[in-house]
Every structure is written in structure tokens, then in C-alpha cells.
Amino acid sequence: MLVMPAIAILLALNLFPLIYDIFLSLVNWQIRFAGSQPTFAGASNFATVVTDPRFYNDVGVTLALIAVVVPVENFLGLGLAMLLSRKIRGSRVIGSIIIMPLALSSAVAGMIWSILLFCSFGPVDSILELLGIWRTCANPLWNYPIQSIMVADIWQWTPFFFLIFLAGLSSLPREPLEAAQVDGASAYQTFRHVTLPMLAPVMGVGVILRMMDVFQTFGVPYILTGGGPGVTSETIALYIYRAGLGFFNLTYAAALALVLLVVVSVLITLFVRIYPGGLAR
């Protein structure tokens, strides 16, 4: 039927890589030497992954990123959407400004922030120095690499939450809100017990999408810190890239990718289960 072409494409494009990944992760294949053949190696690649300290370091970095970035973007976007959902005069213009970071490519956003945060001629340093917060040339890209990535990511993706909350708020039914006001609820109470539960599905979808994206975030860390001094701000996706195209250890990269896939799938399933109220969308 009509659905068939799309499903066929998806299966071909999505299933094939996974199978190939599984194959790659179970063999020992020195691809960088021409003419070498794959030899079955069982789970040794996975054993290497599990005992790899760099892997755990990267997982820690990625988890730290998620733990900070997703809630901040979520609530910042929510606050902005609530502020701008009332039709004040400049709200269209302000909304347009807020959306702009989202329209930039990740590469561009990373580049902008690497300029901003660079010690000697980045304005961030000068401004913070003026405000007396820190000393000259504290070099955030070197000393606070993970925080720099967080700032750049928040800058780029809060508009995403802003957009979906704006959409969600505009489609909320009026009756519960009016009923709450008639019953004498304060603004805060209305928000917490009426608006928020109604927005919960939208919030859930946004959080899941963002969580998965941050799990495999690559562009911003790559351009901003390149993994940080050493590997302090390396994310899992960066490691897969380095293992695959850097060390050319494609079998190891495949094993890493599969582990990442399993972890992400488990987390998503868990999250959908425990999310209060379920996800209507």
C-alpha cells in the first residue's frame, strides 16, 4: 500500500546498519591493513568497552551534560513561553529573536561560542572580568570545558522548548483555567495545578527528544573543546568518531555504538514508563 515504500526505506536504511554494527562488533578486523580479513572474536570487543576507563569517563561527561542541560532548557523555555504567550506588543519580535539560535547549524553555533569564550579576545571573559567575577584570562574553554559546552547547548536549544511550549500553551483549553480563576486560585496555584499537568505530555516529548539528542551530541563538543583538555569533556559520540575515523578501529567503534544504542533504548523505555501521566503525543 501507500505505507509500504516508507517502511521499506526505513527498514533498509535503519536495519542494515544495526546488523552490520552487530557483525562488526563481534569480529576482529584490522581494516586499516589492506587485505586483512575479519576473524570471529566473540565478545572481546564488548569486554574492552566495559573495561575501558575512557568509556566511563565519557559516559560521565555525557550524563553530566544531560543532567544539567535538559532541565535548564526545559524550564527556561517554559518560562519564556509563558511570558510570551500573553499577547504583549513586542512578543512576535521577541519570539523571533529567541528562535534564532535554533536556526543556526550546530557547526555555526559551536564556532560562535568558541569565539566568544576564547580567553584573550572573547567578550565573555572581558564582561565577567568587568563584573568582577573572575580574574583575567580565566580561559573557560580550558578550565571549564564541560560548562562551556553546557552554555552553548542551552543557548542553541532552549528555543526548541520555547517553541513547543508556545505551541502547547496556545492549544490549551480555556475552561480549566477560567474555572481555577473563578475558584480564586492564585497565579502560582493555577500554574502548578492546572497548567503544568496539562503541559506534561508536551514536556515529556520535548525532554525525551532532547535527552536522546544530548546523549549523542557531537557537534558542539567537537568544535568547542575537541574533547576538552585531554578527554575531560569528551562525549561518547566523540569517542566513537575518534575510534572509528581516528584510530580506524572500526570494530571497536561499532561495539561502542551498539552499547550506546542499548543504553539509550533502555533509558527511553524506562523514562516513558515512569513519566507521570504518560505521553499522549
Binding site: I9, Y20, L24, M111, P123, S170, M212, A254, L260
Partner: protein
């Protein structure tokens, strides 16, 4: 009460500053001559402006090609995803209305990490000579755009009553005709909004581009790291390229903001 409103205004101003200031910096950087790049502390307004960054960044370093490549890839991919997504969404909406599981399965394909695809596609493409080709990237971007397109189209088409199709078919229209003359025009805002989203996701995609292109096809993620040399980084040029790359996108997003919001609410209030 006054204090509260003043507080809100200050908060909004700070937030606006946070979002707009980097963009302002990008703009000024694009016009700054090379001498002023490393000034410390950096000047707020460039003392002199130059168009050399634009010339060098766009023409010499391949910035124009990079932007056009990204545009071409993102547009092609969005259109292809929209086409198949529309068909599949229609099929799911009209012929398989109670297929929650299938819909969710299709949507879950979106959630697979792109990095997991990178290595297999790299190896595959090298064997079948799709490496570093437009077709290669367009196909690969389908892995995450197509599921989203199908899902969104299905939801939009669910909003359109079946009677509309049925009345067209009673009048003797074939399936394709129904789609073309009745369904698509009605769902057009949703289609446009979805298209914008798909475009943005493809435009932003980084890892797969980096893995699978290098010289012939240079979308922005592949191009921008090339501005980092061993002795210096061409900040002005990169900013110029970024500026030119951003203008069409920003215009589109601002002009079609309504469609975008519409797309996210699936048509608005019931």
C-alpha cells in the same frame, strides 16, 4: 505589583541579551579586519569594517559551496521525506487507523543515535562509491527525518475528516487525484510546518556529515573545521560564512513562524 513587573522585564531583557548577544558578535566579527580579531579586550564595534572576510570565506575557502551544499542536502531530504511521509501518513491514517504499535515503531526509529549508523554507512558507502556524494548524505538523513515525517503527517491527516476524501471519491476521483486536489491543499499548513522541522534537523545534522563527506560535498559541518589552521583560526571568515548561512534560514523561520507553531500543535485547538 510594580516590582513584579519590573522583575519580569529585567528577566526578559537578560534572556534576550543572552540569546541575541552572540549573534551580534557574529555579525561584528564578520566585518572585522584581521588586525582586530585578537584585540584584547575586544572592541564592541569594529573600528574599521572590511568585506575581505566575506570574499575570502565565501569564495576562497569554499564557504559559498558549503552553504549551497547544506541547503541542497537539507531541501532534497525534506522534500523526499515529506513525499514518502505524506503517502505513508495517509495510508496509516485512512487504512490503518488503530495501528498504535506500528506508528510507535516508526517513530522509535527516530530515536536511534545517529552515531550508531555512522560506521556501517561509512564502510558501505566506500564499497559502493557513495562516499562523499550528495545522494549518500540525502539517503542517510532519511534515517531520522522519514520517521518524523510519517508520524507528523499521520497526525495531521487524522485531523482532516474522512468525509472530505469520500466526497471526492464519490465524485469519481482516483486516489492520487484525491490526494493532490483535496487532501494536500487542506493539510498544507501542517505540511509546510513539518517541512521546516525536517529541514532544520537535516541542516543541523553533524556526525553523519562529518563521517561521510570530505572534499566533493562539503556541508557546513564538514566545512567549518577547515577554517582552523595549524597556526591560526580564521575567525572573521568563519563568522562571515556563518552570517551568510544564517540569513536565509532565519528569514524562513521568522516568516513561517506561524506554520511552525501550527505544526507543533497539529492544527491548533480542537
Amino acid at each position: 505589583m510594580r516590582l513584579w513587573t519590573i522583575g519580569w522585564i529585567v528577566a526578559v531583557a537578560v534572556v534576550l541579551f543572552f540569546f541575541a548577544a552572540p549573534l551580534y558578535w557574529m555579525v561584528t566579527m564578520a566585518f572585522k579586519p584581521e588586525i582586530y580579531w585578537a584585540f584584547s579586550p575586544p572592541p564592541l564595534f569594529p573600528p574599521q569594517t572590511t568585506s575581505l572576510n566575506f570574499y575570502r570565506g565565501l569564495l576562497v575557502m569554499g564557504g559559498a559551496k558549503g552553504i549551497l551544499d547544506s541547503l541542497f542536502i537539507a531541501t532534497s531530504n525534506s522534500l523526499i521525506s515529506l513525499f514518502f511521509g505524506l503517502l505513508a501518513g495517509y495510508g496509516l491514517s485512512r487504512y490503518l487507523p488503530r495501528s498504535k504499535n506500528l506508528s510507535f515503531f516508526i517513530l522509535s526509529q527516530r530515536m536511534l543515535p545517529a552515531v550508531a549508523f555512522a560506521v556501517p554507512f561509512y564502510l558501505l558507502y566506500r564499497s559502493i562509491h557513495l562516499y562523499d556524494s550528495y545522494l549518500g548524505i540525502i539517503l542517510v538523513d532519511l534515517t531520522f527525518n522519514l520517521p518524523l515525517a510519517v508520524w507528523m503527517m499521520k497526525n495531521f491527516l487524522d485531523e482532516i475528516p474522512r468525509e472530505l476524501d469520500e466526497s471526492a471519491q464519490v465524485d469519481g476521483a482516483s486516489l492520487f487525484r484525491t490526494l493532490r486536489s483535496v487532501v494536500v491543499p487542506t493539510a498544507l499548513p501542517g505540511i509546510v510546518g513539518t517541512g521546516i522541522l525536517l529541514f532544520m534537523f537535516s541542516w543541523n545534522e553533524f556526525v553523519l556529515n562529518l563521517f561521510l563527506t570530505i572534499v566533493n560535498v562539503t556541508p557546513l559541518p564538514t566545512l567549518i573545521p577547515k577554517f582552523t589552521g595549524s597556526h591560526n583560526i580564521l575567525y572573521g571568515d568563519v563568522s562571515a560564512v556563518a552570517l551568510v548561512a544564517s540569513i536565509p534560514i532565519i528569514i524562513v523561520v521568522i516568516a513561517l513562524q506561524k506554520q511552525l507553531v501550527r505544526a507543533l500543535t497539529f492544527g491548533g485547538v480542537k
